[in-house]
Each structure stands twice: as C-alpha cells, then as structure tokens.
C-alpha cells in the first residue's frame, strides 16, 4: 500500500494547474517611516490601549527602583525570572536579597516538574527581558531558549517585561527577518500583546483568562 503522504501529494500534483495571481500593490505601514522616539511613543500608546502598563526609565538603576515600587504595590513575595541578557544585566538575584523578594529562575530547578510546581504555584510574577518590541501594535517579541523559559511570561498572574528602547522596531516584518533568517531557528518565538483575555461569556471582557492578568513594561533608555 502506498503511503498516505505520497498518495495525497500525488493526487494534489495531478490536479489541474491554475495561474498564480500577481501580488497587488499595497502601501507600506506608517510605522516604517517613524524615527526612534516616535516608535517608542507609538509602542507605548498601542500597548496602553491594550491595558498594558508602561513605565519609562533612564537606566538599570532606575529600572530596579521601579521594580521595587511595583513589588511593593503588587505585594510580590516570590518571582520567577528569565536569565536572558536583559534580565541578567539587572542582577535580579541581588535585587531580591536587598528587597526581600524571593527571586527564582529555571536554573534553580531540577527538571520540568519541579519548575512547573514553582512557576504555577509559588510566584506572583514572572520577570523577563525581551528580544524585540514592535511599535505597530505594542507587541513584545520573545525568543524561547534555555534562558527564556516559556512559562515565565505565561503562568504567573503578572508579567513584568524589561524593554531596552533600542529594541523597539517598527513592524513585524523587521523582527521576523532577524529571527527567521538563520540556520538554527528558535524552538518557539512568541508575540505578546497585552494580557491574556477572553470574551467567551456573553461577550464580557475578562482579563487574565489563563495567562497574566496584567502586563507591565519597563522601558529602559
């Protein structure tokens, strides 16, 4: 018996051919002609519209101060942090011992099950750096790898994202080009735009359906 694969593909190949249409002209998005500062403003505006909270600070020290403020406001006792380059540059474990917030990262755990127990039940926030921010829609772009575990930005009820301003780009295509134009692709790349939500019960908007109820962005620079 022929394999399902070959059978399906052969049937498709044997079908009559049609003409491939010419791609029509489409004007570019306005974001591609914005300057750096305008992009940051646009990013902030779009994310705020999606109920994201955006703070802008000048440097890492100020970012840590802001973080302390947020920790107090939100009553954070334990946080799960990523170990990506942005988060690492803040030395969050040191911040934790100073402020009394228990800072954990995936590296502290022996395997998936231990990590899941902690990220689901023992932290009130996930803190991550990001790889890209997109002005077009106030979107965060995260490459998942050994330093950016998937559940950190997903399982806790609060996601705090640290965004260096030089990582704000105009449109999705700019970002995609640099993520997907390489030999080894990331196992997962994700766009996050605001908190998790649903309208499934009579159309009522409910934030925090499965993922974070709140997304806070600290823009540095």
């Amino acid at each position: 018996m022929q394999s399902a694969r070959n059978e399906i593909l052969e049937r498709l190949r044997a079908a009559p051919k049609t003409k491939i249409p010419v791609r029509p002209f489409m004007p570019p998005l306005k974001e591609v002609s914005l300057d750096k500062e305008e992009l940051v403003n646009q990013f902030t505006e779009m994310l705020t519209a999606e109920t994201g909270i955006v703070y802008r600070v000048k440097n890492n020290d100020q970012a840590l101060e802001k973080l302390t403020e947020i920790a107090k406001q939100e009553g954070l006792k334990g946080v799960m942090v990523s170990t990506d380059d942005v988060a690492t540059s803040l030395d969050l474990p040191a911040w934790g011992s100073k402020t009394g917030v228990k800072v954990m990262s995936a590296k502290d755990f022996n395997g998936r099950d231990e990590f899941r127990d902690a990220v689901f039940d023992r932290v009130e926030a996930g803190i991550t750096g990001i790889d890209f921010a997109v002005a077009e829609s106030g979107t965060l772009g995260l490459i998942h790898d050994k330093d950016q575990a998937r559940l950190v930005s997903l399982a806790p009820i609060l996601h705090i994202a640290i965004v260096p301003v030089e990582r704000v780009f105009p449109v999705y295509e700019t970002v995609i080009e640099s993520v997907f134009n390489q030999e080894k692709l990331p196992s997962q790349f994700v766009f996050i735009t605001g908190p998790s939500m649903t309208g499934d019960i009579e159309g009522h908007l409910f934030k925090g359906m499965h993922g974070p109820r709140k997304v806070i962005v600290i823009l540095i620079g």
Binding site: R11, A15, P21, L154, S187, I201
Partner: protein, 477 residues
C-alpha cells in the same frame, strides 16, 4: 459529533423561534462587524491589504503540493515529526494511539476547529483518555455537549445562568454566581490544574510556513501557549490547506486575521514553533508532532473552481455580516462550521447530497464575499454547487432535486424563453394577483406564496406590460 446538515431547514426554523438567542444575535455579530471595520481602518489602505491577503491565499492554494513538501522538509529539519492522514479516522486513531503509548491520562487541548472536524474528543474518551478543551468557550460547550454557535465564540450565546448551573453541577465552582468575571475565574482555577499537570497537548494550526517549517497559532486566552509549553508531547493538527509560502506572508495574514475576526490589530498571543524544545530548555515539548489532515481536501483540489473554498483562514467575518447567520445563529448548520464559510466548506466535505439546503440557504447578497480577506466568492460557489447538484455531478455527490421542483423550473425556463407563453401567462395570472390589492398594495395572498407576506408587501402588477405600452406609444407618434 453528530452531523445533522440534512436537517438545516427544520433546525433553522426552531432557532428562529428561540427567543433567548435573539438579543445575542441582534448585538454580537453587529458589534464584531463594527470592530472589524475600525480595525481595518488602522491600515493605510484596507482594500489593498485585503486584496493582498487574497493573493497570498490564492498563491498558497495554487502551489499547494509544492509548498506542503517544502513545509514538511523544513519542519522535519527543525526536528518536528510530520504525520499525514488521508481521513479523519486515520488522524484520530494516530493521535489516540500516540496518547496511549505516552501513557497520557488526559489531554489538554488548545482551541481548534480541525480536531472537532475529525471527532478527536470522542475518540479519546472512548479510549479512557480525558480530553480537556481549554479555550473557555470550547470548555463550556464541551461540558454541555453542544456544537459551536460561532466559530470564534463557540459559547457566546449561552446565558450566564446556564453557565452557573453547569459549573455548579460539574464541581468547577462551589459558590453560585452570575458574574461573568467570577465564572471566568472559576474556569481559570479549574483548568490551571490541568495545564500544570499536562503531559500531552493538542492544538490546531492557523498557518504553516513552507519557507521555515514553522507552525503559527493565534489566540487571546493563552490555552494554546500552555498546551505548547507545559506538556512533554505536543501534537499540532492542521488541514493541508493551512500552508503559506513565507514568514512575511504569514505576518500579513496575522494582521488580516486578527482585524477581520475581532477588530484587534493582533491577537494577544501569536506563537510560532519551529521544532521541539532544544537542549537546555526546561519547558516546551520534547517531541513536536505535526499531523497533516487531508479528509477529502485533495479531492476538492481536483476541481479548480471548488478549491477556492480552501482559501478560508477562519476569521468568521462572513458569519458576522451574513443576514442568514444573523437570524439563525450557528446551531442550524448542523456541524462544526457555520455561516457562509461553513456553507462553502461543508457541501464539499460531506457531499452535496447531505447538505442540499445548506448551499441554498442564501439570497446571494454577496455580503460575505465583500468582507472575505481570502478572496472567496461565496455566492459564485453556492451557484456552482446548486448546478452540480441538479446535474447529479458524481465528484461531490450531486443528488438532483425533488421532481416537483425540477418540473416547475423546466416549465419556468420554457416560459421565460418564449415571449408568447410569458405574455399569455402574465395576462392569465394578473387578475388573480391583483384582486388582493388594497389601495395599490398587496398585503397578503393565499396559497404557495403566502410566506412572502410575513415580512413584506408586493406592489400589484401593472395593467399593461412594457411591450403593450410600447406598441401604443408607437401608434400615437
């Protein structure tokens, strides 16, 4: 899921009489339509963007075999496993076996239409593996054993009282409430435990990118991201037409899909997988299995006209604008797909014989076509299906109409092609119709055409036909 597409007319009549769904149908599709309009207006040229989307989908369908091969090659190189299934049965048996082999006690599911099409949940349950739908709407209808009312908001018509009773009966919450937010929290807490312990996740696929072997999912809740992050095994099921040429094309379709669906610029989460987790990653699947389902589509593909139905990206814009859907909602369509997109797909998937009323339940107003980001010409397809049906075309199981209807149209076609029959007919019928006229309007008539007057009037027929008048005018000059 039981298929009841043959009972469309009967079900539609029942749905129209259901008072409870009425306020919903008056509001939600309209408000989604308004949101869509506002969303599209954020693009510099919405019409050009829609046309560009149609060109992408047209090219994808055109190059289908070649793109599928490329996708498979790249996805495999990324470390994913690709399984091809000829039929729904092959697909669900493969997934059920895999789940058994992996020792899964339950399966966590991200929202997907294709797993409903292949009847995966029933098959899993039959083998003692619990399927948990994790999208809130899907979760509700799964517990209620109902079909989706709307492909995007499957339970959006279910009143809070029913959800309260359901959640109390199933032990999902302890204290009764009618607050939609509290109901949402109860579902969150319940499903969170499932996400936490999940070892086997199943999702659908919105787009499969040939260029990179990447699968893409759009969602707002996070159920799909959880199903792709927490378990050790991830199975993502796609029908074969989901493939698109490039990542750039996918980005444009993300813009269009989000806007056409809910008016959002982009859905809250877009996750793009290229292979399973890599060394050192603590979460994400150890194995990523992509199931490509044919289930009749390679047959549909043989017909260059009918294959246009495969362009659909499931945005549901056509449901929200359709005057028929707006009256009857999603249940009457009798299967997983509803509204115009269901009306173009189901006849091909199930056969023209089993869906005769489905592709006739349309006034050909063209509203669906006018909003479609994939460039599907729904009314043209309905006319095509009707013609295949009356000519008993074999490939899609055309059935022919009842003899009375066939005879009527034969007589009609004879009459309208011969003006002496037409003229005689007119002068014979005119007095019978016009005798119902009151002050120049016909409000009601007895007999076969009575139904017309439930919501409309008819002007009386003119005393003289145009030809008769023309003859008179010619004489006087």
């Amino acid at each position: 899921m039981k298929i009841s597409t043959e009972k469309f007319t009967e079900l539609a009549k029942k749905e129209v009489e259901k008072a409870r769904a009425r306020p919903f149908l008056k509001m939600v599709p309209h408000s989604l339509y308004q949101k869509r309009k506002a969303g599209l207006a954020t693009l510099p040229d919405a019409a050009a963007a829609q046309a560009y989307g149609a060109a992408i989908r047209s090219e994808a369908i055109n190059r289908l075999p070649e793109l599928l091969e490329e996708f498979e090659k790249k996805a495999t190189a990324n470390g994913a496993k690709v399984f091809w299934a000829r039929t729904a049965k092959e697909a669900r048996e493969y997934i059920v076996n895999l789940a058994s082999e992996r020792g899964a006690k339950f399966v966590i599911k991200g929202k997907s239409m294709v797993t409903e099409e292949i009847g995966l949940n029933e098959a899993l349950s039959d083998h003692g593996i619990e399927p948990w739908e994790a999208d809130l709407g899907e979760f509700i209808i799964q517990q209620m054993h109902r079909p989706p009312f709307h492909i995007v908001g499957p339970a959006i018509n279910v009143p809070v009282e029913e959800i309260r009773d359901l959640f109390m009966a199933k032990g999902i919450m302890k204290e009764p409430t009618l607050d939609p937010v509290a109901l949402g929290w109860a579902a969150r807490r319940f499903l969170r435990e499932k996400f936490h312990r999940a070892e086997f996740g199943v999702t659908g696929v919105n787009m499969a990118v040939a260029e990179t072997g990447t699968i893409i999912n759009l969602e707002n809740e996070g159920n799909i991201r959880f199903a792709k992050s927490s378990p050790r095994t991830q199975v993502s099921v796609m029908t074969l037409e989901k493939v698109v040429p490039t990542m750039k094309d996918a980005m444009h379709l993300i813009r269009l899909l989000s806007r056409n669906c809910s008016g959002q610029n982009i859905s809250a989460y877009v996750s793009m997988d290229s292979g399973p987790k890599q060394d050192g990653e603590i979460d994400g699947p150890e194995e990523l299995i992509i199931v490509i389902v044919d289930n009749g589509r390679s047959g549909i593909y043989q017909d260059p006209k009918a294959r246009d139905a495969l362009r659909c990206i499931r945005c549901a814009a056509c449901l929200n604008i359709c005057p028929v859907y707006r009256q009857i909602g999603g249940y009457a369509y009798g299967w997983v797909y509803s509204g115009p997109m269901g009306q173009v797909l189901m006849p091909l998937l199930l056969g023209l014989d089993k869906t005769q009323d489905i592709y006739r339940a349309c006034s050909l107003c063209g509203a669906c076509k006018s909003v479609c980001p994939a460039g599907i010409d729904h009314p043209a397809l309905f006319l095509y299906y009707r013609s295949l049906d009356v000519s008993t075309d074999h490939s899609f199981k055309g059935k022919r109409r009842p003899w009375r209807e066939a005879l009527f149209f034969k007589a009609w076609s004879m009459a309208v092609q011969r003006f002496w029959i037409w003229d005689t007919g007119i002068s014979v019928t005119r007095p019978f119709i016009n005798k119902n006229s009151e002050n120049g309007v016909i409000h009601n008539m007895k007999g076969a055409f009575g139904g017309w007057f439930r919501k409309r009037d008819l002007p009386p027929m003119a005393e003289k036909t145009f030809h008769e008048k023309w003859e008179e005018i010619k004489k006087t000059r």
